[in-house]
Protein backbone atom coordinates (compact mmCIF):
# COMPACT_ATOMS: atom_id res chain seq x y z
CA UNK A 1 0.00 0.00 0.00
CA UNK A 2 1.32 3.43 -0.83
CA UNK A 3 1.14 5.97 1.93
CA UNK A 4 0.49 9.62 1.35
CA UNK A 5 3.40 11.92 2.09
CA UNK A 6 3.54 12.89 5.75
CA UNK A 7 2.05 16.15 6.93
CA UNK A 8 5.41 17.68 7.76
CA UNK A 9 6.98 17.10 4.37
CA UNK A 10 8.08 20.03 2.31
CA UNK A 11 6.05 19.36 -0.77
CA UNK A 12 5.10 22.96 -1.23
CA UNK A 13 8.42 24.47 -0.28
CA UNK A 14 8.69 28.20 -0.16
CA UNK A 15 10.76 28.48 -3.34
CA UNK A 16 8.32 26.32 -5.31
CA UNK A 17 5.49 28.59 -4.26
CA UNK A 18 7.66 31.59 -5.04
CA UNK A 19 8.29 30.35 -8.59
CA UNK A 20 4.57 29.63 -8.95
CA UNK A 21 3.46 33.05 -7.79
CA UNK A 22 6.36 35.03 -9.28
CA UNK A 23 7.37 33.04 -12.33
CA UNK A 24 10.75 33.96 -13.84
CA UNK A 25 11.04 34.60 -17.57
CA UNK A 26 7.29 34.66 -17.94
CA UNK A 27 5.76 36.00 -21.14
CA UNK A 28 6.38 35.80 -24.88
CA UNK A 29 9.27 36.74 -27.20
CA UNK A 30 8.76 38.61 -30.47
CA UNK A 31 9.91 36.50 -33.40
CA UNK A 32 11.36 33.59 -31.43
CA UNK A 33 13.63 31.09 -33.19
CA UNK A 34 11.80 28.26 -31.45
CA UNK A 35 8.33 28.32 -30.04
CA UNK A 36 6.63 25.24 -28.74
CA UNK A 37 3.71 24.38 -26.49
CA UNK A 38 2.57 21.16 -24.84
CA UNK A 39 -0.37 20.32 -22.64
CA UNK A 40 -1.39 17.63 -20.26
CA UNK A 41 -5.07 17.07 -21.02
CA UNK A 42 -5.66 15.07 -17.89
CA UNK A 43 -5.27 18.06 -15.61
CA UNK A 44 -5.36 20.88 -18.13
CA UNK A 45 -1.78 22.04 -17.55
CA UNK A 46 -0.31 24.02 -20.43
CA UNK A 47 3.31 25.12 -20.84
CA UNK A 48 4.82 26.88 -23.85
CA UNK A 49 8.32 28.26 -24.39
CA UNK A 50 9.84 30.81 -26.78
CA UNK A 51 13.58 30.67 -27.44
CA UNK A 52 15.97 33.10 -29.08
CA UNK A 53 19.11 31.31 -30.26
CA UNK A 54 22.36 33.17 -31.04
CA UNK A 55 25.41 31.21 -32.24
CA UNK A 56 23.97 28.01 -30.83
CA UNK A 57 23.36 29.55 -27.43
CA UNK A 58 19.98 30.21 -25.79
CA UNK A 59 20.22 33.97 -25.74
CA UNK A 60 16.76 34.60 -24.37
CA UNK A 61 13.80 32.54 -23.23
CA UNK A 62 10.23 33.08 -22.03
CA UNK A 63 7.56 30.66 -20.94
CA UNK A 64 3.82 30.94 -20.70
CA UNK A 65 1.09 28.64 -19.53
CA UNK A 66 -1.29 27.75 -16.76
CA UNK A 67 -1.75 24.90 -14.42
CA UNK A 68 -0.75 23.54 -11.08
CA UNK A 69 2.09 24.82 -8.92
CA UNK A 70 4.32 21.90 -9.85
CA UNK A 71 4.10 22.37 -13.61
CA UNK A 72 4.46 26.15 -13.49
CA UNK A 73 7.28 26.21 -10.92
CA UNK A 74 9.08 23.51 -12.87
CA UNK A 75 8.81 25.64 -16.02
CA UNK A 76 10.08 28.73 -14.24
CA UNK A 77 13.05 26.83 -12.76
CA UNK A 78 13.88 25.30 -16.11
CA UNK A 79 13.97 28.65 -17.91
CA UNK A 80 16.43 29.98 -15.32
CA UNK A 81 18.67 27.07 -16.03
CA UNK A 82 18.37 27.33 -19.80
CA UNK A 83 19.09 31.00 -20.20
CA UNK A 84 22.60 31.53 -21.60
CA UNK A 85 23.60 27.91 -22.16
CA UNK A 86 24.36 26.26 -25.51
CA UNK A 87 21.41 24.50 -27.08
CA UNK A 88 23.46 21.31 -27.20
CA UNK A 89 23.80 21.38 -23.42
CA UNK A 90 20.10 22.08 -23.10
CA UNK A 91 19.33 18.94 -25.05
CA UNK A 92 21.23 16.88 -22.50
CA UNK A 93 19.06 18.01 -19.59
CA UNK A 94 17.09 15.03 -18.43
CA UNK A 95 14.31 13.98 -16.13
CA UNK A 96 16.57 13.56 -13.11
CA UNK A 97 17.99 17.06 -13.57
CA UNK A 98 14.50 18.55 -13.56
CA UNK A 99 13.30 16.56 -10.59
CA UNK A 100 16.54 17.35 -8.76
CA UNK A 101 16.02 21.04 -9.36
CA UNK A 102 12.53 20.85 -7.91
CA UNK A 103 14.06 19.11 -4.93
CA UNK A 104 10.85 17.61 -3.63
CA UNK A 105 9.32 14.19 -3.58
CA UNK A 106 6.96 13.96 -6.55
CA UNK A 107 4.28 11.30 -6.45
CA UNK A 108 3.66 9.21 -9.57
CA UNK A 109 0.37 11.04 -10.06
CA UNK A 110 2.17 14.37 -10.34
CA UNK A 111 5.27 13.39 -12.30
CA UNK A 112 3.65 14.41 -15.58
CA UNK A 113 3.10 17.90 -14.21
CA UNK A 114 6.74 18.21 -13.18
CA UNK A 115 8.07 16.98 -16.51
CA UNK A 116 5.77 18.90 -18.86
CA UNK A 117 8.26 21.81 -19.28
CA UNK A 118 11.03 19.33 -20.14
CA UNK A 119 8.81 17.88 -22.83
CA UNK A 120 8.37 21.37 -24.26
CA UNK A 121 12.15 21.82 -24.31
CA UNK A 122 12.83 18.44 -25.89
CA UNK A 123 10.24 18.64 -28.62
CA UNK A 124 11.01 22.31 -29.26
CA UNK A 125 14.79 21.97 -29.35
CA UNK A 126 14.80 18.83 -31.48
CA UNK A 127 12.22 20.36 -33.77
CA UNK A 128 14.66 23.18 -34.48
CA UNK A 129 17.53 20.73 -34.99
CA UNK A 130 15.45 18.94 -37.61
CA UNK A 131 14.83 22.21 -39.43
CA UNK A 132 18.54 22.98 -39.39
CA UNK A 133 19.33 19.80 -41.23
CA UNK A 134 16.92 20.52 -44.01
Amino acid sequence: MSTPPSADDQFYREYILDHYKNPRNYGRLDHPDISHEEDNPLCGDVVGMDFRIKDGVIDDIRFHGRGCAISQASASLLTERLKGIPLDDAKRINKDDVLGELGIEISPARIKCALLPLKVLKVGAYGLAAEDEE
Partner: protein
Protein backbone atom coordinates in the same frame (compact mmCIF):
# COMPACT_ATOMS: atom_id res chain seq x y z
CA UNK B 1 -32.88 6.18 11.80
CA UNK B 2 -30.10 5.78 9.29
CA UNK B 3 -27.04 4.66 11.22
CA UNK B 4 -24.06 5.72 9.15
CA UNK B 5 -21.60 4.60 11.84
CA UNK B 6 -22.98 1.08 11.63
CA UNK B 7 -22.76 1.19 7.84
CA UNK B 8 -19.12 2.19 8.04
CA UNK B 9 -18.27 -0.82 10.15
CA UNK B 10 -19.01 -2.97 7.10
CA UNK B 11 -16.25 -1.20 5.16
CA UNK B 12 -12.81 -2.25 6.39
CA UNK B 13 -11.11 0.44 4.30
CA UNK B 14 -12.29 3.07 6.79
CA UNK B 15 -10.58 1.40 9.74
CA UNK B 16 -7.56 3.69 9.44
CA UNK B 17 -9.29 7.02 9.24
CA UNK B 18 -9.51 7.45 5.51
CA UNK B 19 -11.91 10.19 4.36
CA UNK B 20 -13.02 8.89 0.98
CA UNK B 21 -14.76 11.61 -1.01
CA UNK B 22 -14.54 10.08 -4.48
CA UNK B 23 -17.47 7.68 -4.67
CA UNK B 24 -18.72 9.11 -7.97
CA UNK B 25 -15.49 7.72 -9.38
CA UNK B 26 -15.76 4.34 -7.73
CA UNK B 27 -17.41 3.37 -4.47
CA UNK B 28 -15.97 1.33 -1.65
CA UNK B 29 -17.22 -2.23 -1.12
CA UNK B 30 -18.55 -3.73 2.07
CA UNK B 31 -17.45 -7.07 3.53
CA UNK B 32 -20.73 -8.58 2.33
CA UNK B 33 -19.66 -8.00 -1.29
CA UNK B 34 -16.08 -9.17 -0.98
CA UNK B 35 -17.35 -12.07 1.14
CA UNK B 36 -19.77 -13.24 -1.55
CA UNK B 37 -16.95 -13.15 -4.09
CA UNK B 38 -14.59 -15.04 -1.77
CA UNK B 39 -17.23 -17.66 -1.19
CA UNK B 40 -17.43 -18.28 -4.91
CA UNK B 41 -13.65 -18.52 -5.23
CA UNK B 42 -13.26 -20.82 -2.27
CA UNK B 43 -16.36 -22.98 -2.48
CA UNK B 44 -17.77 -23.24 -6.00
CA UNK B 45 -15.34 -21.66 -8.41
CA UNK B 46 -16.23 -23.01 -11.87
CA UNK B 47 -17.57 -21.85 -15.18
CA UNK B 48 -21.27 -21.23 -15.66
CA UNK B 49 -23.85 -22.58 -18.09
CA UNK B 50 -21.54 -25.36 -19.24
CA UNK B 51 -20.60 -28.06 -16.79
CA UNK B 52 -22.73 -30.85 -15.42
CA UNK B 53 -21.43 -30.94 -11.88
CA UNK B 54 -22.83 -29.44 -8.74
CA UNK B 55 -20.41 -26.57 -8.08
CA UNK B 56 -21.02 -25.29 -11.59
CA UNK B 57 -24.75 -25.41 -10.94
CA UNK B 58 -24.21 -23.43 -7.77
CA UNK B 59 -22.10 -20.86 -9.66
CA UNK B 60 -24.71 -20.61 -12.42
CA UNK B 61 -27.53 -20.17 -9.89
CA UNK B 62 -25.72 -17.38 -8.07
CA UNK B 63 -24.76 -15.69 -11.31
CA UNK B 64 -28.34 -15.77 -12.55
CA UNK B 65 -29.72 -14.78 -9.13
CA UNK B 66 -28.06 -11.39 -9.53
CA UNK B 67 -30.09 -10.84 -12.67
CA UNK B 68 -33.36 -11.16 -10.79
CA UNK B 69 -32.04 -8.85 -8.05
CA UNK B 70 -31.15 -6.23 -10.63
CA UNK B 71 -34.49 -6.67 -12.39
CA UNK B 72 -36.31 -5.99 -9.14
CA UNK B 73 -33.90 -3.15 -8.26
CA UNK B 74 -34.86 -1.18 -11.36
CA UNK B 75 -38.32 -2.74 -11.83
CA UNK B 76 -37.70 -4.14 -15.31
CA UNK B 77 -40.42 -6.35 -16.76
CA UNK B 78 -38.21 -9.40 -17.24
CA UNK B 79 -34.74 -10.74 -16.54
CA UNK B 80 -34.42 -11.04 -20.32
CA UNK B 81 -33.99 -7.28 -20.31
CA UNK B 82 -31.00 -7.34 -17.97
CA UNK B 83 -27.71 -7.72 -19.83
CA UNK B 84 -24.44 -8.03 -17.95
CA UNK B 85 -21.63 -5.84 -19.24
CA UNK B 86 -18.33 -4.71 -17.79
CA UNK B 87 -19.88 -1.39 -16.90
CA UNK B 88 -21.66 1.66 -18.25
CA UNK B 89 -19.07 2.22 -20.95
CA UNK B 90 -19.50 -1.23 -22.41
CA UNK B 91 -23.28 -1.01 -22.10
CA UNK B 92 -23.39 2.20 -24.15
CA UNK B 93 -20.95 0.82 -26.69
CA UNK B 94 -23.13 -2.25 -27.03
CA UNK B 95 -26.12 -0.10 -27.94
CA UNK B 96 -24.10 2.18 -30.22
CA UNK B 97 -22.81 -0.87 -32.07
CA UNK B 98 -25.67 -3.36 -32.13
CA UNK B 99 -28.59 -0.97 -32.28
CA UNK B 100 -26.84 2.04 -33.79
CA UNK B 101 -25.19 0.48 -36.82
CA UNK B 102 -28.45 -1.09 -37.93
CA UNK B 103 -30.78 1.81 -37.21
CA UNK B 104 -28.94 5.10 -37.62
CA UNK B 105 -28.96 6.23 -41.24
CA UNK B 106 -27.10 8.93 -43.16
CA UNK B 107 -28.42 12.35 -42.21
CA UNK B 108 -30.05 11.12 -38.99
CA UNK B 109 -29.70 13.26 -35.90
CA UNK B 110 -28.33 12.10 -32.54
CA UNK B 111 -28.98 14.40 -29.58
CA UNK B 112 -26.52 14.35 -26.66
CA UNK B 113 -25.71 16.88 -23.94
CA UNK B 114 -22.69 18.95 -23.03
CA UNK B 115 -22.98 17.56 -19.49
CA UNK B 116 -22.21 14.05 -20.54
CA UNK B 117 -19.40 11.71 -19.69
CA UNK B 118 -17.03 10.80 -22.51
CA UNK B 119 -18.48 7.28 -22.49
CA UNK B 120 -21.82 8.74 -23.55
CA UNK B 121 -20.26 10.90 -26.26
CA UNK B 122 -17.44 9.04 -27.98
CA UNK B 123 -19.36 5.85 -28.94
CA UNK B 124 -21.96 8.06 -30.64
CA UNK B 125 -19.28 10.09 -32.41
CA UNK B 126 -17.85 6.87 -33.81
CA UNK B 127 -21.32 5.72 -34.87
CA UNK B 128 -22.11 9.10 -36.44
CA UNK B 129 -18.89 8.99 -38.45
CA UNK B 130 -19.48 5.40 -39.56
CA UNK B 131 -23.12 5.91 -40.52
CA UNK B 132 -23.04 9.51 -41.67
CA UNK B 133 -25.25 10.86 -38.89
CA UNK B 134 -25.09 14.27 -37.19
CA UNK B 135 -24.78 15.05 -33.50
CA UNK B 136 -26.15 18.05 -31.64
CA UNK B 137 -25.52 18.82 -27.99
CA UNK B 138 -27.92 20.32 -25.48
CA UNK B 139 -26.19 23.18 -23.68
CA UNK B 140 -26.39 24.09 -19.99
CA UNK B 141 -27.45 27.33 -18.34
CA UNK B 142 -25.34 29.24 -15.84
CA UNK B 143 -26.39 26.92 -13.03
CA UNK B 144 -25.21 23.85 -14.85
CA UNK B 145 -28.70 22.64 -15.75
CA UNK B 146 -29.65 21.45 -19.21
CA UNK B 147 -31.42 24.05 -21.31
CA UNK B 148 -34.81 22.44 -21.71
CA UNK B 149 -35.93 25.05 -24.25
CA UNK B 150 -33.06 24.07 -26.51
CA UNK B 151 -33.72 20.38 -25.89
CA UNK B 152 -37.31 20.84 -27.10
CA UNK B 153 -36.09 22.66 -30.20
CA UNK B 154 -33.74 19.81 -31.03
CA UNK B 155 -36.56 17.32 -30.58
CA UNK B 156 -38.50 19.13 -33.29
CA UNK B 157 -35.82 17.96 -35.69
CA UNK B 158 -36.95 14.40 -34.92
CA UNK B 159 -33.72 12.84 -33.74
CA UNK B 160 -33.24 9.13 -34.20
CA UNK B 161 -31.56 8.78 -30.83
CA UNK B 162 -31.45 10.85 -27.68
CA UNK B 163 -28.92 9.93 -24.99
CA UNK B 164 -28.23 11.77 -21.74
CA UNK B 165 -27.15 11.13 -18.19
CA UNK B 166 -29.55 10.68 -15.31
CA UNK B 167 -27.15 12.62 -13.10
CA UNK B 168 -24.02 14.50 -14.16
CA UNK B 169 -20.88 13.01 -12.64
CA UNK B 170 -19.02 16.30 -12.99
CA UNK B 171 -21.58 18.75 -11.57
CA UNK B 172 -24.06 16.52 -9.76
CA UNK B 173 -26.96 18.00 -11.73
CA UNK B 174 -30.02 15.76 -11.52
CA UNK B 175 -31.60 15.99 -14.93
CA UNK B 176 -35.40 15.96 -15.20
CA UNK B 177 -35.24 12.50 -16.73
CA UNK B 178 -38.95 11.72 -16.62
CA UNK B 179 -39.88 14.81 -18.59
CA UNK B 180 -36.95 14.45 -20.96
CA UNK B 181 -37.62 10.79 -21.72
CA UNK B 182 -41.32 11.46 -22.25
CA UNK B 183 -40.62 14.36 -24.62
CA UNK B 184 -38.00 12.41 -26.56
CA UNK B 185 -40.27 9.38 -26.89
CA UNK B 186 -43.11 11.61 -28.05
CA UNK B 187 -40.76 12.95 -30.72
CA UNK B 188 -40.21 9.39 -31.91
CA UNK B 189 -36.61 8.97 -30.68
CA UNK B 190 -34.99 5.93 -29.16
CA UNK B 191 -33.78 6.97 -25.70
CA UNK B 192 -30.80 5.85 -23.65
CA UNK B 193 -30.26 7.07 -20.12
CA UNK B 194 -26.76 6.86 -18.69
CA UNK B 195 -27.56 5.88 -15.14
CA UNK B 196 -23.99 5.52 -13.86
CA UNK B 197 -24.68 8.23 -11.28
CA UNK B 198 -28.41 7.52 -11.04
CA UNK B 199 -29.23 3.96 -10.04
CA UNK B 200 -26.57 3.76 -7.30
CA UNK B 201 -28.10 6.71 -5.46
CA UNK B 202 -31.84 6.68 -5.89
CA UNK B 203 -34.75 4.40 -6.64
CA UNK B 204 -35.05 3.84 -10.36
CA UNK B 205 -38.08 2.38 -12.10
CA UNK B 206 -37.26 1.86 -15.75
CA UNK B 207 -40.85 1.12 -16.71
CA UNK B 208 -42.09 4.28 -15.07
CA UNK B 209 -39.21 6.18 -16.68
CA UNK B 210 -40.10 4.76 -20.08
CA UNK B 211 -36.62 4.82 -21.58
CA UNK B 212 -35.45 2.23 -24.10
CA UNK B 213 -32.05 1.65 -22.51
CA UNK B 214 -30.61 2.37 -19.07
CA UNK B 215 -26.92 1.74 -18.34
CA UNK B 216 -25.05 1.61 -15.03
CA UNK B 217 -21.90 0.28 -13.35
CA UNK B 218 -21.69 -2.10 -10.41
CA UNK B 219 -18.50 -0.55 -9.07
CA UNK B 220 -20.26 2.74 -8.35
CA UNK B 221 -22.90 0.99 -6.22
CA UNK B 222 -20.77 -0.97 -3.73
CA UNK B 223 -20.07 -3.80 -6.18
CA UNK B 224 -16.75 -4.80 -7.71
CA UNK B 225 -15.26 -3.43 -10.91
CA UNK B 226 -15.94 -5.42 -14.07
CA UNK B 227 -19.68 -5.94 -13.71
CA UNK B 228 -22.30 -3.52 -14.96
CA UNK B 229 -25.73 -3.53 -16.47
CA UNK B 230 -27.49 -2.68 -19.66
CA UNK B 231 -31.23 -2.61 -19.30
CA UNK B 232 -32.97 -2.68 -22.67
CA UNK B 233 -36.59 -3.00 -23.70
CA UNK B 234 -37.12 -6.55 -24.82
CA UNK B 235 -38.55 -5.67 -28.20
CA UNK B 236 -35.42 -3.68 -29.08
CA UNK B 237 -33.01 -6.25 -27.71
CA UNK B 238 -34.75 -9.04 -29.62
CA UNK B 239 -34.29 -7.15 -32.88
CA UNK B 240 -30.65 -6.31 -32.29
CA UNK B 241 -27.68 -8.27 -33.55
CA UNK B 242 -25.13 -9.46 -30.97
CA UNK B 243 -22.30 -7.18 -29.89
CA UNK B 244 -19.48 -9.62 -29.14
CA UNK B 245 -19.65 -13.06 -30.67
CA UNK B 246 -18.22 -16.39 -29.59
CA UNK B 247 -18.95 -18.98 -26.96
CA UNK B 248 -22.12 -18.96 -24.85
CA UNK B 249 -24.04 -16.50 -27.01
CA UNK B 250 -25.01 -19.11 -29.58
CA UNK B 251 -27.63 -21.81 -29.88
CA UNK B 252 -26.15 -23.81 -32.74
CA UNK B 253 -23.10 -23.15 -34.82
CA UNK B 254 -22.77 -24.73 -38.23
CA UNK B 255 -20.31 -23.90 -40.93
CA UNK B 256 -23.21 -22.51 -42.96
CA UNK B 257 -24.27 -20.20 -40.18
CA UNK B 258 -25.19 -19.70 -36.57
CA UNK B 259 -28.33 -19.19 -34.54
CA UNK B 260 -28.01 -16.97 -31.53
CA UNK B 261 -28.95 -17.72 -27.99
CA UNK B 262 -32.10 -16.24 -26.42
CA UNK B 263 -32.07 -13.06 -24.41
CA UNK B 264 -30.24 -12.09 -22.31
CA UNK B 265 -27.41 -14.51 -23.17
CA UNK B 266 -27.29 -13.39 -26.80
CA UNK B 267 -25.29 -10.42 -25.54
CA UNK B 268 -23.03 -12.30 -23.13
CA UNK B 269 -20.27 -13.87 -25.19
CA UNK B 270 -17.37 -15.74 -23.69
CA UNK B 271 -16.61 -16.55 -20.08
CA UNK B 272 -18.23 -13.92 -17.94
CA UNK B 273 -17.11 -11.97 -14.87
CA UNK B 274 -18.73 -14.55 -12.61
CA UNK B 275 -17.32 -13.51 -9.24
CA UNK B 276 -18.01 -9.86 -10.05
CA UNK B 277 -21.61 -10.50 -11.00
CA UNK B 278 -22.08 -12.48 -7.78
CA UNK B 279 -20.50 -9.56 -5.89
CA UNK B 280 -22.88 -7.17 -7.60
CA UNK B 281 -25.80 -9.27 -6.40
CA UNK B 282 -24.52 -8.90 -2.83
CA UNK B 283 -24.22 -5.14 -3.38
CA UNK B 284 -27.87 -4.94 -4.45
CA UNK B 285 -28.86 -6.93 -1.36
CA UNK B 286 -26.87 -4.50 0.75
CA UNK B 287 -28.50 -1.44 -0.82
CA UNK B 288 -31.94 -3.03 -0.52
CA UNK B 289 -31.17 -3.63 3.15
CA UNK B 290 -30.40 0.05 3.63
CA UNK B 291 -33.37 1.10 1.52
CA UNK B 292 -32.78 3.36 -1.48
CA UNK B 293 -34.98 6.08 -0.01
CA UNK B 294 -32.76 6.14 3.07
CA UNK B 295 -29.65 6.18 0.89
CA UNK B 296 -31.01 9.19 -0.98
CA UNK B 297 -32.02 10.98 2.23
CA UNK B 298 -28.61 10.40 3.78
CA UNK B 299 -26.79 11.72 0.72
CA UNK B 300 -29.11 14.75 0.65
CA UNK B 301 -28.24 15.56 4.21
CA UNK B 302 -24.49 15.28 3.61
CA UNK B 303 -24.73 17.22 0.36
CA UNK B 304 -26.71 20.06 1.96
CA UNK B 305 -24.16 20.22 4.73
CA UNK B 306 -21.24 20.20 2.30
CA UNK B 307 -22.83 22.84 0.11
CA UNK B 308 -23.27 25.13 3.10
CA UNK B 309 -19.83 24.43 4.49
CA UNK B 310 -18.06 25.06 1.21
CA UNK B 311 -20.20 28.12 0.38
CA UNK B 312 -18.83 29.76 3.52
CA UNK B 313 -15.22 29.49 2.35
CA UNK B 314 -13.90 32.65 0.78
CA UNK B 315 -12.21 32.30 -2.60
CA UNK B 316 -14.13 29.12 -3.40
CA UNK B 317 -16.39 28.88 -6.44
CA UNK B 318 -19.04 26.16 -6.55
CA UNK B 319 -20.16 24.83 -9.91
CA UNK B 320 -23.59 23.42 -10.63
CA UNK B 321 -27.14 23.72 -9.34
CA UNK B 322 -28.43 24.37 -5.81
CA UNK B 323 -28.52 21.36 -3.47
CA UNK B 324 -32.19 20.65 -4.12
CA UNK B 325 -31.46 19.69 -7.72
CA UNK B 326 -28.11 18.10 -7.18
CA UNK B 327 -26.95 14.62 -6.22
CA UNK B 328 -24.07 13.89 -3.84
CA UNK B 329 -21.45 15.57 -6.01
CA UNK B 330 -19.80 18.95 -5.45
CA UNK B 331 -17.42 20.43 -7.99
CA UNK B 332 -15.50 23.56 -7.09
CA UNK B 333 -12.46 25.72 -7.74
CA UNK B 334 -10.24 27.76 -5.47
CA UNK B 335 -8.83 31.14 -6.46
CA UNK B 336 -5.14 30.79 -7.25
CA UNK B 337 -4.92 27.10 -6.38
CA UNK B 338 -5.04 24.43 -9.04
CA UNK B 339 -7.31 21.45 -8.20
CA UNK B 340 -4.34 19.09 -8.39
CA UNK B 341 -2.46 21.05 -5.77
CA UNK B 342 -5.50 20.95 -3.51
CA UNK B 343 -5.87 17.19 -4.06
CA UNK B 344 -2.22 16.65 -3.13
CA UNK B 345 -2.58 18.68 0.05
CA UNK B 346 -5.85 16.90 0.93
CA UNK B 347 -4.13 13.56 0.37
CA UNK B 348 -1.68 14.42 3.13
CA UNK B 349 -4.68 14.69 5.45
CA UNK B 350 -5.98 11.32 4.22
CA UNK B 351 -8.78 13.04 2.32
CA UNK B 352 -9.34 11.47 -1.13
CA UNK B 353 -10.52 14.09 -3.58
CA UNK B 354 -10.83 14.03 -7.36
CA UNK B 355 -9.13 16.70 -9.43
CA UNK B 356 -9.36 16.87 -13.19
CA UNK B 357 -11.82 17.02 -16.03
CA UNK B 358 -13.92 14.08 -14.77
CA UNK B 359 -14.11 12.56 -18.26
CA UNK B 360 -16.23 15.53 -19.30
CA UNK B 361 -13.91 17.69 -21.36
CA UNK B 362 -16.70 19.31 -23.42
CA UNK B 363 -18.27 20.43 -20.13
CA UNK B 364 -14.96 21.82 -18.81
CA UNK B 365 -14.57 23.77 -22.03
CA UNK B 366 -18.12 25.06 -21.64
CA UNK B 367 -17.43 26.14 -18.05
CA UNK B 368 -14.16 27.73 -19.17
CA UNK B 369 -12.02 25.88 -16.65
CA UNK B 370 -9.30 23.31 -17.32
CA UNK B 371 -10.30 21.20 -14.34
CA UNK B 372 -12.26 21.23 -11.09
CA UNK B 373 -11.89 19.66 -7.69
CA UNK B 374 -14.73 17.31 -6.87
CA UNK B 375 -16.03 15.77 -3.67
CA UNK B 376 -18.68 13.06 -3.91
CA UNK B 377 -20.63 11.19 -1.26
CA UNK B 378 -22.30 7.88 -0.65
CA UNK B 379 -23.95 5.64 1.93
CA UNK B 380 -20.96 5.79 4.29
CA UNK B 381 -20.04 9.48 4.10
CA UNK B 382 -19.84 11.40 7.38
CA UNK B 383 -20.32 15.13 7.88
CA UNK B 384 -17.06 14.91 9.75
CA UNK B 385 -15.37 14.02 6.45
CA UNK B 386 -16.80 17.18 4.93
CA UNK B 387 -15.27 19.12 7.81
CA UNK B 388 -11.95 17.45 7.12
CA UNK B 389 -12.23 18.52 3.49
CA UNK B 390 -12.89 22.10 4.61
CA UNK B 391 -9.79 21.82 6.79
CA UNK B 392 -7.67 20.70 3.84
CA UNK B 393 -9.02 23.57 1.75
CA UNK B 394 -8.06 26.07 4.43
CA UNK B 395 -4.64 24.49 4.75
CA UNK B 396 -4.15 24.85 0.99
CA UNK B 397 -5.21 28.48 1.18
CA UNK B 398 -2.75 29.06 3.99
CA UNK B 399 0.10 27.48 2.01
CA UNK B 400 -0.73 29.35 -1.18
CA UNK B 401 -1.66 32.71 0.32
Amino acid sequence: MYDVKAVRRDFPIFDNGLAYLDSANTSQRPRQVTGAMMEYFEKFNSNIHRAAYHIAEEATDRYEATREKIRAFINAASTKEIIYTRGTTEAINLVAYSWGRANVKPGDLIVLTILDHHSNIVPWQILATANGANIEYVDIDDRGELRQDQFRELLEKQPKLVSFSHVSNALGTINPVHEMVAAAKAAGATVLVDGAQGAPHQRVDVRDLGCDFYAFSGHKMLGPTGAGILYGRRELLEAMDPFLAGGDMIKTVRVEGTTYHDLPWKFEAGTQAIAEVIGLGAAVDYLDGLGMDNVLAHEREVTDYAYETLSDIEGLTLFGPPPSRRAGVISFALDGIHPHDLATIADRDQVCLRAGHHCAMPLMTRLGVPATARASFYVYTLKDEVDRLAGSIKEAQRIFK
